[in-house]
Assembly symmetry: C2
Homo-oligomer: 404 residues x 2
């Protein structure tokens, strides 16, 4: 066992007790009792977002393998998984460890496997997890096959397909596609199928663009599956996924499963491409006014980039939301205020248009809810979600984990 694995195991072992203890707080507390910054999760909004995705999956006739990289929290995952044992998608092996420790069994690790993670993947398999790996090159295939032989293990893998040119994966027509699958098959590994992620859907300026991207994503991975089948190789699983394409795909013929994660919370980037509306954003950061620079029209709050993250995903959209959109405690945008700047623990609230006259005076101590650009990045800055109800009371506090 490597040093990292030792640490990880000791952390995982320690997790269930304090987490369960914290998840079962019984008294409802008003937001005013929270020290800030704090991460709020609006349960009613989250539930509506989940119901929307589930209805879409049902309409499309595909199975759903939610991506838990956004939430990293069993309490959220239990609300989006089809069964208590999964399936789920993860972006790190620490996620796989954590969710496995909470009873999840069917896990797709959706980042091309690095050789220094083979031993860890093996440990998960031997602990009873049905872990599927992905890869996109003969180089990785050969390394994994060698390790599979040495460890006498029948790894299950999927081939990653590049449907939009935004990062990794084999082109659907790549010459190597069939040889890699054939090699893995002959080396005794199980090739379950093909998967892709149309990350470029986040950059589509219109919903028609998102619909077209969903079709491009579907066509790419279905074409790769056809090529494998034409070569006589089995390809039972055909997997696509991103929140925009999942929600706006018109049909998914040939696809067997969909993956998505951000849909649970949504964020300003999603609202900026009309995948959701601002009043559907379930995640926000609670901050408090700590001062003013009146002559500049600034209100200072105690939520800076450490709380919001440095993500500036709306900077390239039609409406730049700075480091976040400022809302009142009900989650309603307040007087067109945004976080125009951020230091580590200071956020600078000002009017979007930079005006200095007629700036709302928010007294020191006023609490504000700041909607984030990117839910994955903002949530990662916090150890807990404070789950709030429609009366702005904290019902429960859910833990999320951090790091690798």
């Amino acid at each position: 066992m490597t040093q990292s694995e030792h640490q990880m195991q000791s952390e995982i072992m320690q997790q269930p007790e304090p987490m369960n203890a914290m998840s079962h707080q019984s008294t409802r507390l008003p937001l005013e009792t929270l020290e800030t910054p704090a991460l709020l999760l609006d349960e009613a909004r989250m539930n509506r977002n989940i119901a929307r995705m589930q209805a879409q999956m049902k309409r499309l006739g595909v199975s759903f393998r939610p991506h838990v990289k956004t939430n990293k929290c069993i309490d959220v995952a239990r609300r989006i998984m089809s069964t208590p044992t999964g399936p789920i998608t993860v972006s790190t092996l620490k996620e796989a460890e954590y969710f496995a420790a909470h009873g999840v069994r069917d896990i797709l690790y959706a980042v091309s496997i690095a050789p220094n993670k083979f031993a860890h993947a093996l440990k998960l398999l031997r602990s009873g997890v049905q872990l599927t790996l992905i890869l996109d090159s003969m180089e990785t295939a050969q390394l994994l096959a060698a390790f599979a032989q040495t460890s006498n293990t029948r790894f299950e893998v999927m081939l990653e397909i590049d449907s939009d040119g935004h990062r990794s994966g084999l082109a659907p027509e790549a010459a190597e596609l069939v040889p890699i699958a054939a090699y893995l098959h002959s080396a005794g590994l199980v090739v379950k199928g093909v998967m892709t992620h149309a990350g470029s859907s986040y950059d589509c300026p219109t919903l028609d663009g998102v619909r077209a991207m969903a079709e491009q994503e579907r066509a790419a991975v279905v074409r790769a599956a056809e090529r494998l089948r034409e070569a006589g190789l089995p390809c039972p699983v055909v997997s696509v996924g991103s929140t925009p394409t999942a929600l706006f795909a018109e049909q998914l013929e040939g696809v067997t499963e969909v993956r998505a994660g951000v849909f649970v919370f949504f964020d300003l980037v999603m609202a900026g491409i009309n995948v959701c509306t601002v009043d559907e954003l379930a995640l926000s950061v609670l901050g408090t006014v700590i001062g003013h620079q009146a002559e500049k029209g600034w209100t200072l709050i105690d939520a800076g980039w450490m709380a919001m993250s440095r993500d500036r995903g709306t900077a390239k959209q039609a409406v730049d939301q700075g480091y976040g959109l400022v809302c009142d405690l009900d989650g309603t945008p307040l007087d067109d205020l945004i976080l125009v700047g951020a230091n580590q623990e200071h956020g600078i609230v000002a009017h979007r248009d930079g005006r200095l006259a007629g700036v709302t005076h928010l007294p020191v101590g006023t609490q504000l809810r700041i909607m984030p650009n990117h839910a994955c990045a903002t949530a990662a800055q916090f150890p807990h979600y404070h789950v709030i109800d429609s009366e702005r009371q904290v019902q429960e506090t859910w833990s999320r984990f951090h790091g690798w």
Copy 2:
């Protein structure tokens, strides 16, 4: 006690044991045994950086109150504090809690105090911590004075001065300065002095600019101190601080203490303004090659923005380093490669000039060290530092904490 405080206390209580256990690992391990991404701390570089700051403080004849927001780790803090009990500067009360639990007593919380943190500050004071708060308005002064009266506590405070217009603080000539200090004094609080942070020094394009900013920072806070003394109010402490101004101040007449935090590690933003050189950067992220998109000149690694953070601080500098500068395992820049893009767990390595021909082939499994734009932001993404020696062996693993 609020819900947050309950959680914080239970976390703090749990920390010392596992942290000590992890800090005293005895075997040296090669980097190749680490699962990636992992945060590396080059001990020799860190020690040189610390010695440089200490020599500068000695030359300037000021006391040093290191900012621990960058490291959030007692093992690092012990190497930069003048004594085991401090003094230190913190940016959150969780930092104060954690360092107090490790024996630190003299703590300046350098963000204007929010009313929802009064009770927590009181708890720290009552546990024996000499906690100093800051504020910059009559509004906060009145709220704190009311709380001080109710709780029968003599809070110690400093007034925050704005020396460069970049965020909070009173202008040195502000009409409210003397009235606020006089009010606090009359309300029975202890006004220890004035403090400022010239955060604009990060944006100085030349070292002459940094030197001028150091003088501007000094002059602003010394002027504020003079005004208080002229009004017959005591002002024993005059505090300045930022890594660039601390290292390049030519003289600090009238200043009693300096605060800085990034100097321990340095980062690409600091190198970009010539405050340090790239070979002084002590912090890096270890990543592993997981694939290629050869026709684009891309190498994919398993360190994306979750590992590097979304900080793009070099984007506005003369040399944009993308999401990080790619180095070999000795920490030497490699063939002018940078992280040109990042997804959550994917980093895209490519040549800085975008060339496609003659791209170095880095085989799958190759480990790389990525120098970060901003040490505070990148370190915050990790639960541990892997401390490496000059032979690239991991000597110890130090824990750092996360969140609020």
